[in-house]
Amino acid sequence: MDVVIKLTLALMGLSLCLAFVRLIKGPSLPDRVVALELFSTLIVGIIGVISIQTDVASFLDVTIVMALMAFLAAIGFARFLERGGPRDD
């Protein structure tokens, strides 16, 4: 089980790195917002795995807050983008 958890965390860390490459590369602001969305989803998964590893169930509350914040951030970014009108970046 320990090996499985380590492997899972490694895969998720690799996913974070790949999403980070997209966050750096862009090319436009909506692409970066999508990468950030993926970030928060990945972090929810990582916290779930860590709650299994450490046997602490309270970490699940953190995942709920994290998912909520990610959703609100996505809505806020979308409002911000649409208010700006056509852009070229």
Binding site: M12, L18, A19, A78, L81, P86
Partner: protein, 134 residues
């Protein structure tokens, strides 16, 4: 037995998340990238949370894990729709191999107006209404 199921759920969840990350890195434009992240990442989180529920097997924890799953499954499509809409309106380029863009003939980027294609002449006319800014 439960250990085996748990390990399988964890690993498949991680693999789906890795697929989402590879998709967001490799796919060519905004909408295809969103197609990768929204579905694959939501499924990955759901599988991991199922593993958490199996691991603890208490009522309080299972309820919270299912709460997370339902929340993710409800908010991921909404967030994807909102970001996709904003991305289309701010003019992000579509992939050169796109075969169909059904919004294009019905959307006017200058006036930011959408048409359904079913308007009558009377409906399409722009009349002043209560509450319009002067």
């Amino acid at each position: 037995m439960i250990e085996v199921i748990k390990g399988t759920l964890l690993l498949s969840g991680a693999v789906f998340m890795l697929l989402a990350a590879v998709g967001v890195l490799r796919l060519p434009d905004l909408l295809t990238r969103m197609h990768a992240t929204t579905k694959a990442a939501a499924l990955g989180v759901s599988l991991v949370m199922l593993a958490v529920a199996l691991h603890f097997a208490e009522v309080a924890v299972v309820a919270r894990a299912f709460g997370v799953i339902i929340f993710i499954l409800m908010t991921a499509p909404v967030a994807a729709h909102v970001i996709g809409r904003a991305g289309y309106f701010v003019g992000s380029r579509l992939w050169s191999g796109t075969v169909k863009d059904e919004l294009r003939p019905n959307y006017d980027p200058l006036t930011h107006e959408l048409k359904s294609g079913l308007e009558t002449e009377a409906n399409a006319r722009h009349l002043p209404r209560d509450g319009d800014p002067p």
